[in-house]
């Protein structure tokens, strides 16, 4: 009888303790440093619960296992997250200045460059695709694609790397932005659109996007469909209750479940390996290349527009909404405090969300 009570002590391992330590570090980063706390806090608790000795919470019969089967293995949670993201995203800056959509496309090069780098390092094509998607800087897209492509035990490090780098966008992007642009380029003040976005345009856009995506990139339809459905709820103006529910209750509940289940996949066997370090390095490379490609396209647009477009908004093409747009705004303000770039940067930023979902769909379409 006493040995049954103290059975947990006999199951304590060094690797298990290391994972508990990692969960506590993530908790610290989320709570004290405010690095993506909405995700890192549930992920860290999921990791802690899954690695407690003797509990078996994360086994298939445990409650975390049941949650994982119900929402992560079948990609339900990322899709519900995207519904909430759509309801929270304002596409108005994109509707008012459609040309900025190109910057959202250019930034997706980070995904494919990281994929090629992963292949060069010897990863399989499927795993390389799952790692490359970190460059989308989009949590739900990353988890959606990685949960379909990643090999055993790779989902957790990929998800944690994605959210960690999204939290570090204000640290990763500014040095690259300052390195690749001149002071004169950073000081460009962009003009404002002369017309507002009409109600009919804002309502028509999500519907048309859903239909066109299903024709051009069918594998991206679940992600883009949920994103645009959420946005339609927001814009249509007659379903305020549903819009508010998706913006608050639905996305919050899903965030808890998604974080817990992703954290529960962080077992010592799969996480404490050198390949995890490789995933983090490749993820950082993907972010840096995505920022660089967006900036370079921004410079192209700067010259094409005869200096009327600030190339910094190109860096906002990575889809970390709204963090990347804020970073572009702040870097511009470092040069000129009177330069307000935030709304101009939101166009490429929301285009990046669309672009990354489509890139994820294309990777799935080619590799599955």
């Amino acid at each position: 009888m006493p040995e049954d009570i103290f059975v947990a002590f006999s199951e304590v391992t060094i690797s298990g303790l290391a994972m508990i330590g990692i969960s506590l570090v993530m908790m610290y980063l989320g709570v004290a440093r405010k690095y993506e706390p909405l995700l890192l806090v549930p992920i860290s608790i999921g990791c802690l619960l899954a690695n407690l000795p003797g509990t078996k919470i994360a086994d298939d019969e445990g409650f975390l296992g049941i949650l994982r089967t119900a929402g992560l293995d079948n990609e339900l949670f990322p899709l519900l997250m995207f519904l909430g993201v759509g309801a929270l995203t304002d596409f108005t800056p994109l509707v008012q200045r459609p040309v900025t959509v190109l910057l959202g496309a250019a930034s997706q090069f980070g995904i494919f460059a990281a994929l090629i780098l992963a292949l060069l390092l010897g990863w399989s094509v499927e795993n390389a695709g799952a790692i490359g998607i970190i460059g989308s800087a989009d949590g739900p897209t990353t988890i959606y694609v990685a949960s379909k492509l990643a090999g055993e035990g790779l989902l957790a490090p990929i998800a944690v790397a994605a959210y960690s780098y999204m939290a570090m966008v204000p640290i990763i992007q500014p040095p690259i932005m300052k390195l690749l642009t001149t002071k004169k380029e950073r000081m460009v003040k962009m003009s404002y659109p002369s017309k507002s976005a009409s109600y009919k345009a804002r309502v028509s856009f999500p519907i048309i996007v859903i239909i066109l995506t299903s024709l051009i990139a069918p594998e991206a339809t679940p992600l883009v469909g949920m994103l645009m459905f959420g946005n339609l709820l927001r814009e249509v103006g007659v379903v305020d209750r549903l819009a508010k529910s998706t913006q608050n209750e639905l996305i919050n509940v899903t965030t808890i479940f998604l974080g817990l289940t992703v954290g529960s996949t962080m077992s010592a066997d799969s996480f404490l390996e050198t390949r995890t370090l490789g995933i983090f390095v490749l993820g950082l490379g993907a972010f840096a290349i995505a920022t660089t490609s967006g900036l370079m396209f921004g410079k192209l647009m700067y010259y094409a527009s005869k200096g009327t477009i600030n190339p910094l908004i190109g860096a906002a093409g990575v889809s970390a909404v709204p963090m990347a747009a804020r970073v572009a705004h702040r870097v511009a303000q470092d040069e000129d405090p009177d330069n307000f770039l935030i709304m101009h940067a939101m166009g490429p930023n929301v285009a990046g969300v669309l672009g990354s979902a489509i890139a994820g769909g294309v990777i799935l379409g080619v590799l599955m």
């Binding site: 459609p98 959509v101 496309a105 997706q108 292949l119 345009a201 909404v321 890139a359």
Partner: protein, 145 residues
């Protein structure tokens, strides 16, 4: 290995091509939508206010500030003169405030409205533990300590 690299390059080429194609189509759709359903002209409220303010300022400058009430006038005239003086002082404050506000790009109507809409709509993160403000429990909702 080489096959894998070739496949990677192929995926990158096809992927970027499809991403650009799709988003260019979206851009065209947006341009067409803006043509079919044009939005309203954005009126720069501050600029129009500035015009009014400048008009007020000109009126203000035309007034003889050295005007003094003749000693032989009654109390009513003195009160009226004081009231006019107070009004002009308040107007002067307004001119300075609005003129200062219109000096930078931030005051543009689109910029301000869009920023407000953006900050109000993109959700917010909770305050970090330790920087939250807690109110004491007040079961009757009567406030006070």
């Amino acid at each position: 290995m080489t096959d894998n690299i070739n496949e990677g390059i192929y995926i990158a080429g096809v992927g970027m091509g499809l991403v650009f194609l799709t988003l260019v189509v979206f851009m065209i759709i947006l341009l067409v939508l803006n043509k079919i359903f044009p939005g309203e002209e954005i009126v720069d409220e501050v600029d129009s206010k500035s015009a009014d303010v400048m008009e007020s300022a000109e009126t203000f400058n035309r007034i003889d500030m050295n005007y003094s009430v003749p000693a032989d006038k009654g109390l009513g005239s003195r009160i009226a003169a004081i009231a006019v003086g107070m009004y002009l002082t308040m107007e002067e404050d307004k001119v300075v405030r609005i003129a200062n506000a219109s000096n930078d790009g931030e005051s543009r109507a689109w910029n301000k409205e869009s920023q407000n809409s953006f900050w109000n709509s993109q959700g917010s993160r909770p305050s970090a533990y330790g920087s939250r403000s807690y109110k004491p429990y007040d079961p009757k909702g009567i406030g006070g300590s």
